[in-house]
């Protein structure tokens, strides 16, 4: 019988046959097949798995994967205006450098004694983020904005002891799907209409839907459709008057120039860290944050790890540990704790911390200014095209909705033509928001130069 297995594999030191035999003999066994004696024969796989044979070398593997990936066309080689939940920003070299440190890349669930640096860098991430969002408590990050919003909604409903959340109707459809799955069957998720002229929340609809059943009102600033929710304070006031909690989703890279949501009444703030020094990674760079004030009413509702600072038995030494661990499902209460916790996106949290430490207060302010100027310029130039207009009149941050309905061309057609010119046009909104007609959402950030924008505008001009 042929010997199954892969001897002398570089990742498996004890696949060296002599060592393998020595260890088997130590156990009184003769072959690898005699292992798994506790697995009943009827469920043992009797054949080799039908998988491609291993590459003969690391080089061949690299050549193969690089070859496959070459089929991808990147936002580095093309001009990209897609945003809609994942955004192209400049990633400082330090972010990649620290993010790639092997010690961080390969650490996991140790304690302060062995993973001190992991604890400190995540405590610092929480602290830096708290300054940015002007809150006092920030979690070790969760999966993405959608998960952060879903959890923030559950937290808020627990605080309010109610089971309904009103959610801004301009929310990203995929985020809404995540929230609905995560909150069903415990909570009722109800959409509040948005005003098609301004893109902001329809306050009359909000008033009509707010009741003593409402636990949370969730809106975003900027909204998914790019505009600033200029009625933030009115919404928060109405929410509080109804005895509900105000949860606000925010783009963290806006907060160098835009007021933090607490200033207009947010109780819980959430959002995505991806703009803060994390590559788009085809959507794999998303990372969700949540923030509240340091009030046990809120702190004890977090399902996430919260790393806090503590002292040791040695004067002058600090260390870090879990705050209120038994809140989490890792503690003694398991399912009776708050929701659940597990592996999420810690390394992106560390990376976002590096970004904020590198940018500093001045950098965050400047990047906000540059983004707003570039985005406004792009919108203005695009609005100068014949039969094209900017859909909403409200000020926006980095994304804006362009209305192509009067051009006689669909967004799909326009984007196809742009693609031929190596431009990724804005996200087609016609399926998610049919009420808007043929609209596309463009994202312009600090990575776009005037020449980039002018190239887009002239390409659109040619296509239309």
């Amino acid at each position: 019988m042929s010997v199954k297995g892969f001897k002398n594999h570089p990742y498996i030191p004890n696949s060296v046959p002599e060592v393998e035999q020595e260890m088997l003999h130590e156990l009184g066994l003769n072959s690898l097949e005699e292992l798994h004696a506790e697995v009943p024969d009827e469920i043992i796989l009797k054949r080799e798995m039908d998988l491609p044979e291993a590459f003969g070398s690391e080089y061949e593997l690299r050549r193969h994967v690089e070859g496959v990936l070459k089929k991808n066309k990147t936002c580095a080689d093309n001009l990209n205006f897609l945003g809609a939940g994942c955004w192209q920003h400049y990633v400082p070299a330090l972010c990649d450098e620290i993010n790639g440190k092997g010690e961080f890349v390969t650490a996991y669930g140790g304690e302060s004694y062995n993973d001190f640096g992991r604890f400190q860098s995540l405590f610092e991430y929480e602290s830096l983020m708290a300054e940015l969002v002007d809150m006092e408590v920030v979690n070790v990050p969760t999966m993405d904005w959608a998960q952060a919003a879903a959890t923030a909604i559950r937290m808020g409903c627990r605080v309010a002891d109610r089971a309904q959340a009103l959610v801004s109707g301009s929310i990203d459809r995929q985020k809404l799907a995540v929230i609905k799955n995560y909150c069903t069957p415990d909570l009722d998720i109800v959409e509040v209409a948005f005003d098609p002229a301004t893109g902001c929340m329809d306050l009359a609809d909000l008033k009509a839907k707010l009741s003593d059943k409402t636990g949370v009102v969730y809106f975003e600033n900027p909204t998914y459709l790019g505009v600033m929710e200029v009625q933030g304070k009115e919404i928060a006031d109405l929410t509080h008057a109804a005895g509900a909690q105000c949860v606000v989703g925010v783009d963290p890279i806006s907060l160098g120039v835009v007021a933090a949501p607490r200033s207009y009444g947010a109780d819980i703030v959430c959002g995505d860290l991806q703009p803060l020094g994390i590559h788009m990674n085809y959507g794999g760079g998303q990372s969700g944050f949540m923030a509240t004030m340091d009030d046990p009413k809120y702190v004890l509702e977090f399902p996430s790890r919260l790393f806090g600072i503590c002292c040791t038995n040695t004067p002058g030494e600090y260390a870090f540990a879990d705050v209120a661990y038994d809140r989490t499902s890792f503690g003694h209460l398991r399912e009776k704790a708050k929701e659940y916790v597990g592996t999420q996106t810690a390394l992106w949290g560390i990376t976002a911390g590096v970004y904020l430490a590198t940018m500093g207060p001045k950098g965050m302010q400047e990047v906000g200014e540059t983004i707003m100027q570039n985005a406004q310029y792009a919108a203005k130039q695009i609005a100068g095209l014949k039969n094209v207009s900017i859909k909403f009149s409200t000020p926006f941050f980095k994304e804006f909705v362009v209305d192509f309905s009067k051009t006689g061309k669909s967004v799909a057609e326009i984007n196809k033509a742009l693609l031929e010119k190596n431009i990724f046009g804005g996200k087609d909104l016609s399926k998610d928001f049919p009420v808007l007609g043929q609209c596309a959402m463009y994202c312009v950030t600090e990575v776009h130069t005037k020449e980039d924008i002018d190239r887009l505008v002239s390409a659109l001009g040619e296509i239309l």
């Binding site: 496959v68 708290a130 310029y377």
Partner: protein, 521 residues
């Protein structure tokens, strides 16, 4: 000079890097900058109003109080913190039982750092994403072959979200039958991961726990009594954290099916089973794999990760969508399969943590079917070798199936050591750090007293395992001869014993530097 004595089997000279590095806010020097930021073109600046378009209440009045630090100091700070982190790259990682901390090949990290991965937007036209879609499509096929399932979703971005996705599949399945209210119980075991209970609870299920019998298998009599017309699903790991494989698993899954329920397999402990036995043959309708564990992608201090979740054809239509398909010429997102009112919808924005999927793909391709089988066999060999050596020690024991094999890990008990010396597993754990080693005790609550959970994986060499055993023995000897030394550990770590007394006190806990300053200034 005399010949240098290198005979010691234990690294008594170890000291972890200890930089006494300030908290980053303490490094601030007004005026210092970490990076210069691109300004808008002067013509652009002139043409627009910029931030002044914001209504005044939306304008930030004071800049965020972030520290001002030069670039080399930021780098040095984090480089030092990295050195103070004992990742698997630098330590013999045998001690993180249940976590499958194995070697993560550097070539895979490098491939995932290519612009063709990093600089991809998830909403790009499908024609521009054929490379990554091919990777996702093929990885799905490999996962199906490894598990016997028919289709995987990569949206779940961690093992616990994989469990949530399985619970959501269960919910969807019964919703499609109009039975989601009656089928409201999920059965799991006390040795399964806490998320096997906690995540289904989020989906509204009542959790029923089964305790182990004398063999460490879930107690079948108790199980039989628990399965009824309210049973929505049985969600379990096999082996559980004890490393004991439940031989009767088919009896369990069969009983659930006879009663109309579903079976979900928590495959967090799959590393010892690759190519040996599969979820389908054991009677499961769905399962998930931790790509960051079994498939090496790596752990990243706790993510980014992927809890790839697969299911049978019957449940496929409820998976989070869309799914990647291939029409013979091009890869495309298939929205049709999951387009029904009972489907989950989504559990994550976009389509999963692509770099993690890519790394799992590369790992599988570097091993092939023979290599995956070798991984499982060597992981089990390493574990049983470690198990045999440790069980020869007077102060170590492990409950259940004496003399029989474990799969890829084992939960040991140091109860004898504790009774005889007063040295607890927590003391031993801290003392191990003085030799550059770590181990993990157990999930809570502790059902095995004074627990120690070890999982060597396929990565360590025999010498590594022997060194780990010698070090444990050294500490056990110390416990008998000088218990206070062990209780006072660590001495060679970044920090000494923690005083966590403030961690549950709202007046004293501090999750952020600003809270700390507020409470302690």
């Amino acid at each position: 000079m005399k010949k240098i004595d290198r005979s010691s089997k234990v690294r008594t000279g170890f000291h972890q890097a200890k930089w006494d590095e300030p908290v980053i806010f303490e490094l601030t020097k007004p005026g210092e900058r970490g990076i210069l930021v691109t300004k808008a073109n002067p013509e652009v600046q002139k043409a627009v109003e910029g931030t002044s378009v914001l209504p005044s209440f939306l304008q930030r009045e004071t800049a965020p109080a972030l520290p001002e630090i030069s670039q080399p100091r930021v780098l040095r700070h984090y480089a030092r913190l990295a050195q103070e982190t004992l990742g698997a790259d630098v330590n013999i990682e045998i001690g993180q039982g249940t976590c499958t901390v194995k070697y993560s090949p550097k070539v895979n990290d490098q491939l995932a750092s290519l612009p063709q991965m990093r600089e991809m937007h998830p909403l790009q036209d499908e024609s521009t994403c054929q490379g990554i879609m091919q990777i996702m499509y093929d990885t799905n096929r490999y996962m199906c072959e490894i598990s016997g399932m028919d289709r995987f979703s990569f949206q779940p971005s961690g093992g616990s979200q994989g469990i949530l996705t399985m619970a959501s599949l269960v919910y969807s399945y019964f919703k499609s039958k109009g039975q989601e209210k009656e089928r409201n119980e999920i059965i799991t075991t006390i040795y399964s991961h806490p998320s096997d209970a906690a995540a289904p609870h989020v989906k509204g299920f009542k959790i029923i726990y089964i305790h182990p019998d004398e063999n460490g298998y879930p107690d079948y009599e108790a199980f039989k009594a628990a399965v009824n017309e309210h049973t929505a699903a049985f969600i379990v790991a096999n082996p559980e954290d004890t490393g004991v494989y439940n031989k009767n698993v088919l009896k369990f899954t069969k009983l659930v099916h006879e009663n109309g329920g579903l079976c979900g397999y928590d495959q967090a402990n799959a590393n010892g089973l690759l190519g040996v036995t599969r979820a389908r043959e054991a009677g499961f309708d769905m399962c998930f794999f931790n790509l960051h564990k079994t498939f090496s992608t790596p752990h990243g201090c706790g993510g980014p990760a992927c809890g790839a979740t697969g299911c049978t054809k019957e449940l496929e239509k409820f998976l989070p969508g869309p799914l990647v398909d291939f029409d013979g010429e091009k890869y495309f997102y298939n929205y049709e399969i999951t387009n029904n009112p009972s489907a989950i919808g989504k559990v994550r924005e976009f389509n999963g943590v692509a770099p993690v999927i890519l790394k799992a793909y590369a790992w599988i391709r570097s091993l092939g079917p023979d290599g995956l089988y070798q991984v499982a066999k060597t992981a089990v060999l390493n574990n049983n070798y470690l198990f045999k050596k440790l069980m020869e020690l007077h102060c170590v024991d492990a409950p259940y199936i004496p003399g029989k094999q474990r799969i890829e890990q084992c939960r040991y008990t140091l109860e004898t050591l504790f009774k005889e010396t007063g040295v607890s597993t927590a003391d031993v754990q801290r003392r191990m750090m003085d030799f550059g080693m770590h181990y993990w005790q157990s999930h809570h609550p502790y059902y095995v007293p004074e627990p120690m959970t070890l999982e060597p994986t396929e990565t360590p060499s025999k010498e590594d395992i022997d060194e780990y055993i010698e070090t444990l023995k050294y500490v056990f000897d110390e416990a008998y001869n000088n218990p206070e030394k062990v209780k006072g550990a660590p001495y060679q770590s970044v920090c000494h014993q923690l005083d966590e007394s403030n961690m549950d006190d709202p007046k004293q806990w501090a999750v952020t530097w600003r809270s700390y300053l507020k409470k302690f200034n």
